[in-house]
């Protein structure tokens, strides 16, 4: 296993010396994300395996190439879960890709995002140095939080080779309730529930229905369900929401992921096909010009990206303000001075 890491390190070091470009590949399940990958592939999937897992410590440490399926299964067998409920987008999804892409599922507003659960990482920076940040403990304020900086950085700052994640107990009881209503009422209801002590673990709106998931103890979930009413429905819905396989998202137009404050009213011109995260995530298939979508997202206090089926090289990520872009470029240089790793995968400028 150390050999696998050392082989990756040597490869990056060589690329650094020769000014080569590398595209980092795990299970290739998320190749469609971001801008078009360029450079020689560097395969992380051989660097796999769970390094340590002690359920009572609430921490699992695994090599980046470990399949997400294996992680899910392992923690499930111990009565736990990855509480950020990561989308897989394919059976070969890896831990490294999941963390690098920084995506979280329906539980995110209530349990936290992937970045909230990353405790430590081992990375190879663009110079071919193997570095370790954070650790396997919950509280750790020594040094800058490079572990979380790596999360969602699309491999532009380093090759993830090992990650420690916080895990949580799987709730003893869960149920899913559906309520028929219009979208405006749905948005209002999601906000009201989130401001109450209802044990929420999911709230999405699609096709004229609000869907709510409750998680907690048997007694707590039963009491909340009685109070809310609604119709008990299939929990399989949440996997479809997470994997974007819900029928409401079928289509061929560009799929936009619009992240806005949950209080943002529905935009009839950019009507969401599916609203997740209690109102804070709007999935819209639309041919509307990128500028229209972005203006609305930005005016609402959020950001928008073409997730799939669109002009990935021009619209993948929401443009950054000049001062923030400059910081990104300098950080890129700090970790990857020769621009070896996933060049231009996130933004054209670095």
């Amino acid at each position: 296993m150390t050999d696998a890491i050392e082989a990756l390190r040597e490869r990056v070091e060589r690329a650094f010396a020769n000014q080569e470009q590398l595209q980092i590949v795990g299970g290739a399940s998320k190749t469609f994300l971001g801008r078009t990958p360029v450079g020689e592939p560097i395969h992380v999937d051989e660097c796999q395996g769970i390094v340590s897992y002690e359920p009572t410590e609430l921490v699992i440490t695994a090599r980046a190439g470990t399949r997400l399926d294996e992680l899910d299964r392992t923690v499930r067998e111990a009565g736990q879960l990855l509480a950020f409920e990561p989308p897989h987008f394919g059976p070969d999804a890896t831990l490294g890709g999941t963390v690098a892409c920084g995506l979280s599922g329906p539980r995110r507003p209530y349990a936290g995002a992937v970045r909230d659960f990353v405790l430590g990482v081992k990375i190879i920076n663009g110079k071919g140095e193997l570095l370790r940040f954070g650790g396997q403990v919950m509280k750790n304020v020594a040094g800058y939080d490079v572990s979380r900086l790596m999360t969602g950085a699309m491999g532009c700052l380093g090759v993830l080779v090992e990650v420690s994640l916080k895990v949580l107990p799987r709730p003893a009881s869960e149920c899913t309730l559906a309520f028929e209503m219009d979208v405006d009422a749905g948005l209002t209801k999601m906000l009201a529930l989130a401001a109450s002590t209802t044990p929420l673990s999911g709230a999405c709106f699609t096709q004229g229905h609000l869907h709510v998931r409750l998680s907690g103890t048997q007694a707590g979930v039963a009491a909340a369900a009685r109070q809310l009413g609604g119709e008990h429905t299939d929990a399989a819905l949440w996997a479809d929401v997470r994997e974007l396989t819900h029928v409401a998202l079928n289509g061929t137009k560009p799929l936009w992921r619009i992240s806005v404050p949950a209080t943002t009213p529905n935009n009839r011109d950019l009507a969401a096909d599916l609203i997740d995260w209690g109102g804070a995530l709007r999935w819209v298939r639309t041919d509307a010009p990128a500028s229209t979508v972005r203006q609305w997202a930005e005016a609402s206090g959020g950001h928008a990206r073409v997730f799939s089926d669109g002009d990935r090289d021009n619209s993948a990520f929401h443009p950054l303000k000049p001062a923030v872009l400059a910081i990104h470029q300098r950080l890129k240089k700090a970790f990857d001075p020769n621009a070896v790793l996933n060049p231009h995968r996130m933004y054209a400028q670095f």
């Binding site: 020594a142 401001a195 804070a280 206090g301």
Partner: protein, 504 residues
């Protein structure tokens, strides 16, 4: 009080007799951009700013700037940048690692005047506040809406949110509710060049790198925080506390793992060893079992039905792990009494010994028995006493080494023992600081935890924000050349600064 700026620009004669104009000093230029009552530079005015909560380290700054608007903060930064003068930002100065210790050639930037809560959105459950707002004020302002701000460092009545972000502060409820980094959405910062940056967003994530996480806990080395948007949570319907006594510390440690194995995440989970129990009991009379080797305090919160379920579960676990006694607080007053001893543990220990030295390591919880055993051996070896209080849920240890600075050699032995304990924390996979920050205090121990290439990477990160290295230089990340000595927090005769505050 303030010297007229022009006086400092007085012309003087060079040896050749040619009049030359002295360049304006940084103080002159600060007086040019701030009202004169917002610039302090007379020694007696600087004195209150010479240290933060770590009063063992003191240094007068060149000047103190107390701006009242963001535009003034920007102007101060521009002046300092032009003069290549270092800047140390400061909130309430309650930090325990010397992060806000001034520099003799630097400007101390006090943000206490930024004390307004700008907006509370009860529907979106956020608050937009200035950096000088006290932590507890946010929860107080949100309370009428049934909401609160979760991170609650023990100094919350005084510490400011800007400092909380800079240190990534925790509190006793971290295991369930997370640290500052988990509870904020957006920052406005001013860079060393005086430029404004918006980091994060009002949505749950933002485009680009996670600069919000990078800024959180960066100890004032990357930017000056001038506005913070925090998340608010619904106030739990119900909270309840259990107290369990154990005959040995290891069993208490195992009980913590066993509670979590049952799927319960307590809101707070604290462990005290026998010397800490006795000290606390002598001090506040919380009716603690003074013969117990250790006690665990376990707080559960949530909906009424959830809490009742969990109380039953936890009670069973504690007994099966060998608890000799389990008490459940029956009233709010009893709950407060259970906590009173824990909260008074540090001042209580201050009564046992002329001086103590507080450590802040975090370890994987499973190593507790091993670490306590090694610490006891080390204490014997160094002929010193160690008292332990422990945020058991998240593995954050606060060993207190008791010593007397007036006994020749004891201070030095204490520092050595402290160093060995931190090395032990790193050795078992932990960290040198769980919540107090590195600051100036633990800067040397960073050398134990990180390799040279990692420290160099940290410096490169700083360089990306602060090219000239003017923001709080010399703190948090040691230069490679410095990696040699050890520093520590020393409390003389219990004289922590702000003794009125609950700590740790």
């Amino acid at each position: 009080m303030a010297e007229p700026g022009l006086a400092r620009q007085a012309s003087s004669l060079s040896n050749s007799g040619v009049a030359i104009i002295m360049k304006p000093t940084v103080i002159d230029d600060l007086l040019g951009v701030l009202p004169s009552n917002c610039v302090l530079h007379a020694t007696e005015d600087l004195r209150p700013y010479e240290c933060d909560g770590l009063s063992a380290y003191r240094q007068l700054p060149l000047a103190v700037a107390l701006p009242e608007t963001i535009e003034q903060v920007r102007a101060v930064m521009q002046v300092c940048h032009r003069h290549r003068t270092p800047v140390v930002a400061r909130g309430a100065g309650t930090g325990l690692s010397g992060g806000a210790l001034p520099l003799s050639d630097g400007v101390l930037l006090g943000l206490a005047k930024f004390s307004q809560i700008l907006d509370i959105d009860p529907i979106g459950r956020t608050a937009r506040v200035q950096p000088g707002v006290r932590n507890i004020s946010i929860s107080e302002a949100a309370a009428p809406h049934g909401l609160y701000y979760a991170p609650d460092p023990s100094s919350q009545i005084a510490c400011t949110i800007g400092g909380n972000v800079a240190e990534n502060s925790g509190g006793v409820h971290c295991l369930k509710y997370g640290l500052t980094v988990h509870n904020i959405l957006k920052l406005q910062i001013v860079t060393m060049e005086g430029e404004m940056l918006e980091i994060g967003s009002d949505a749950l994530d933002s485009a680009g790198f996670d600069l919000l996480a990078l800024m959180t806990g960066s100890e004032g080395l990357l930017g000056v925080i001038v506005e913070v948007t925090v998340k608010l949570l619904p106030i739990p319907e119900h909270a309840q506390v259990l107290l369990a006594a154990f005959d040995d510390v290891e069993s208490a440690g195992e009980a913590v793992g066993a509670i979590i194995a049952k799927g319960v995440i307590p809101a707070g989970l604290e462990l005290m060893d026998n010397p800490a129990i006795r000290a606390a009991e002598d001090f506040v009379h919380a009716n603690y079992p003074v013969d117990a080797a250790a006690i665990l305090l376990c707080e559960l919160d949530g909906a009424q039905d959830d809490v009742s379920d969990q109380i039953t579960t936890v009670d069973g676990v504690l007994r099966s792990c060998g608890a000799t006694e389990v008490r459940v607080a029956r009233t709010a007053a009893e709950r407060a009494t259970f906590w009173a001893g824990r909260k008074a543990a540090f001042p209580a220990v201050g009564r046992l010994s002329p001086d103590y030295y507080c450590m802040d390591g975090t370890i994987p919880r499973k190593e507790l028995g091993h670490v306590l055993q090694c610490m006891a051996q080390l204490a014997t070896q160094y002929d010193l006493r160690v008292v332990n209080v422990f945020h058991a849920g998240d593995g954050n240890l606060h060993p207190l080494i008791l010593y007397d600075a007036n006994v020749p050699g004891e201070l030095q032995r204490t520092e050595e023992l402290g160093g060995r304990i931190l090395e032990l924390c790193v050795e078992v996979g932990g960290t040198i600081t769980g919540e107090h920050g590195v600051g100036i205090e633990k800067i040397n121990q960073m050398c134990v935890q990180f390799a040279a290439a990692e420290l160099s990477q940290f410096h490169a990160v700083k360089h990306a924000f602060d090219v000239d290295g003017l923001l709080n230089p010399g703190k948090a990340v040691p230069t490679l050349a410095r990696c040699a000595e050890f520093g520590a927090m020393h409390v003389h005769h219990g004289n922590l600064k702000h003794p009125e505050l609950e700590r740790f």
